[in-house]
């Protein structure tokens, strides 16, 4: 006997992941809606519901009377098994309608390891995986988010990619669709016209040819599609849409709090960081806007905590003023403010105490590299003196633990740089014991967390080879041998996941076959270590006949056509190359507020590019 959806809820873990009906979720009368959008997050509810971008786009779409945006998350394995056993299709939380009923199915691409989950979700929806096999009577499958900056490995499966920030362009796309629907919708005609909207990339309108060595020969647009597609940005965040309420989940999620975005972009230009280039130029919200939006969100959600969201909180130009303003009402309402990506130095002690900065997150640094030389090469401007001074202050205040984040396998890295990680840890340990006021009878604990560097598109390191898994393992061993005290605890990310991430991040269209085969072998939720099986992935590459090293471990030539060459994020290839050369000479680049380095993002005529320095 086939079970109904409601009956499945009684059989699964955490049914509130699937029931919908949360406070502030939006239901509309289907009869009065002209375009339906299913916003899909290719990961579990707890992860997807923590994502700010989804909240913004959900609100912005639903603010249009005849558009209805609903939410869809990847079901966990227990729910997936039940859906398949009972022949039930994947559904959206608000209406519980199958995805097939929607006009658009929109995925957000936050990290490469969720690609197999996307294919699995399309399959659960009962849709053909390949865009070419989905006809006029089926939903358009589209995607946006950071990984859409090189969407080529997914090109076979998607009708449209949206480049850059989606608030405006999503609505433009849906409006165009509404028009086409009125006059009789034809997919091919719609896609052709959609490709003319700035920020819309229709992969089927581009033909990719390859050289014999596997590199790209050309990307050729068809049917009047533009030769390059430029990303979209929201120029003025003060006047841009921001939700006045968040859907409040019943179950505990990863980030269960209100979020106020304080700026987009980052002035720093760390050379390994894709977000630092993708979201240029830096655009701030005013103190008034942030204050008003934070207060409104707390009132409509009842959240007891809100966080200030950005790539680097400390770089907000009026941080003290902002925090003083926020605290003036938050304290009375017993509402906590959390400050991720904060540099603890340069904070007044009074403010730090009122915010409980240290008590919440502990003392955390991200030096990323062990020596000043390598930190200069990656343009990470955090000096040893700054780290030690802050640690000293914190120890004097009675703190006994410090967390440090590093990357291994950065371009130009030598054994000295690896040993430098252990040495920096040791200096912090020494700093604790030299402190005359150290708490009696307490030991210091320094935890060092090391991830593996993944070269990403649109960074100065996009041409660089990733270290092989063996090289990374050797470096890990060297680091382990260099740590001589038990006061330092080491942990690292596994190199295999990073390797696969590197393959997919800089992949081309041929990887579509790998992804499809991986899905056929049952790969799903690969972002979760319990589901990830590296050996099986390697088998899939062999089966398809592609060498993953070609994508991960190969140095690209300066004039090689990169798979994302036709995508324009504003920052120019020339600038990125110049930054790459400076990295090899360990020369730093000033941040955007100190001096303009002419990266190209000023073409968007907004934010820091327009500020007076």
């Amino acid at each position: 006997m086939a079970l109904m959806l409601e009956e499945l809820f009684e059989k699964v873990q955490k049914p509130a992941r699937y029931t919908g009906g949360e406070l502030n979720s939006i239901t509309k009368d289907k009869e009065k809606v002209s375009v339906r959008f299913a916003f899909c997050f290719p990961d579990l509810y707890e992860v997807g519901m923590s994502h700010l971008g989804m909240k913004i786009l959900y609100g912005a779409t639903n603010a249009v009377e005849d558009f209805w945006c609903e939410r869809v998350f990847a079901p966990d394995t227990d729910m997936e098994t039940l859906l398949r056993e009972n022949n039930l299709p994947l559904f959206a939380l608000e209406s519980r309608d199958p995805l097939r009923c929607f006009d658009f199915i929109g995925f957000t691409l936050q990290y490469e390891m969720c690609y197999t989950t996307i294919l699995n979700m399309l399959d659960l929806a009962g849709l053909p995986l390949h865009a070419a096999e989905r006809g006029d009577d089926m939903p358009l499958v589209i995607a946006g988010g950071p990984c859409a900056s090189n969407p080529e490995p997914l090109a076979d499966f998607f009708d449209i990619f949206i480049l850059g920030e989606g608030e405006e362009v999503n609505l433009e796309l849906m409006s165009l669709y509404r028009e086409h629907k009125k006059k009789g919708y034809n997919k091919a005609a719609f896609l052709r016209e959609a490709a003319q909207i700035e920020g819309i990339y229709v992969p089927s309108l581009y033909e990719v040819t390859y050289n014999e060595d596997g590199t790209l020969a050309a990307v050729t647009p068809k049917e009047d599609a533009p030769a390059t597609i430029r990303k979209r940005i929201i120029r003025d965040l003060d006047t841009a849409y921001y939700p006045d309420s968040f859907v409040v989940p019943f179950i505990d999620i990863v980030h269960d709090r209100a979020m106020s975005e304080i700026f987009r972009g980052c002035i720093r230009g760390c050379r390994f960081c894709q977000a630092g280039f993708l979201y240029r130029p830096v655009r701030e919200k005013s103190v008034d806007t942030i204050d008003r939006q934070s207060r409104c969100l707390c009132e409509t959600s009842g959240y007891e905590e809100f966080s200030l969201s950005s790539l680097s909180t400390s770089d907000y130009t009026h941080l003290e003023e902002l925090l003083t303003r926020l605290l003036s009402w938050a304290e009375d309402k017993h509402t906590n403010i959390s400050l991720p990506s904060l540099r603890v130095d340069g904070f007044s002690e009074e403010l730090a105490n009122r915010l409980n900065v240290l008590r919440r997150s502990g003392l955390t640094f991200a030096p990323e590299a062990g020596t000043q030389r390598l930190r200069d090469a990656i343009n990470k401007n955090l000096s040893e003196t700054e780290i030690l001074d802050t640690a000293r202050k914190a120890f004097a205040g009675g703190w006994t633990s410090v967390k440090l984040y590093f990357m291994m396998g950065l371009p130009t890295e030598t054994p000295d740089d690896v040993v430098g990680i252990a040495e920096l840890g040791q200096k912090i340990v020494n700093c604790y014991y030299h402190n005359p006021d150290k708490p009696k009878g307490k030991a210091v604990s320094v935890s060092v967390s090391v991830s593996c560097f993944v070269p990403k598109p649109f960074t100065p390191f996009q041409w660089e080879p990733q270290d092989s898994i063996e090289q990374l393992r050797e470096k890990q061993k060297l680091l382990r041998d260099s740590v001589t005290t038990r006061k330092i605890s080491l942990s690292w990310h596994d190199a295999e996941t990073s390797y696969l991430e590197a393959v997919l991040a800089r992949g081309d269209r041929r990887l579509g076959a790998v992804l499809e085969s991986a899905f056929r072998h049952g790969f799903n939720l690969d972002a979760w270590s319990e589901h990830f099986d590296f050996e099986k992935w390697i088998e899939v590459f062999k089966e398809v006949g592609l060498d993953p090293d070609f994508y991960a471990c190969r140095r690209r030539e300066k004039d090689e056509i990169l798979p994302w060459e036709h995508i324009d994020i504003g920052v120019t290839k020339e600038f990125l190359w110049a930054e790459n050369q400076k990295a090899h000479q360990s020369v730093t680049t000033p941040n955007c507020r100190q001096e303009c380095s002419h990266c190209g993002a000023s073409c968007f005529k907004g934010g820091v590019c327009r500020e007076r320095r």
Partner: protein, 222 residues
Amino acid sequence: MNDVKDFRTVRITFSKKGRARFISHLDLNRTMTRAVRRANLPIWYTEGFNRHPYLTFAAPLSLGYEGEQETMDLRLEQDMEMSELVTRLDAVMPEGLHIKHAAWAVCKAGDVDRAVYRLQLNGCQPEAVTELFAQSQVLEEKRNKKKEWKTIDIKPVLDTANAQITPTETGTQLELTLPCNSTDTVNPALVTEALRQLPNMAEFSVSVCRLAVLDKNGNRFA
């Protein structure tokens, strides 16, 4: 916690139905905390580092069950009209949760003694239920507080359950009163489990609604 006693306890009666039955007990606490904050009630917050509204639930409800008259206690820092409290809190509730009543608490939390349940047994005939109640012994596996599995005889519980068996279009409606106190608690799932173990029993589905929570004298816990 000395000053806790300075504030009087308000007992709020609410129903939990439809999709809201899938809110677990732990999640209900969080959901209610946020609702109380949205309603901007003059509620007493705990002292200490992690200050939060002090909410307690005398009788947790199992995940998946509906409840007609569930209760939640909170403490107010200022007096306010109970009718206003009901209106303000009900206005900010998510779908499926509905505030019905608020009054100064009379019973102590420990006074909860038993609860009345209504079970809709779809695909189960009344005769089968009658058969179960006619057995001389009904053995069931139950986990005690130490998380050990024990076999118990629920026959005595069934005898005092004041069971009402009514045929419905789809099967049977069974109303029964089961203990729900510090020394003994029987979940209606034990009864449906016993039903499933009857010989020749076909598959059936169950939906459970807790109609009321009672004190030792059989009065509504208020």
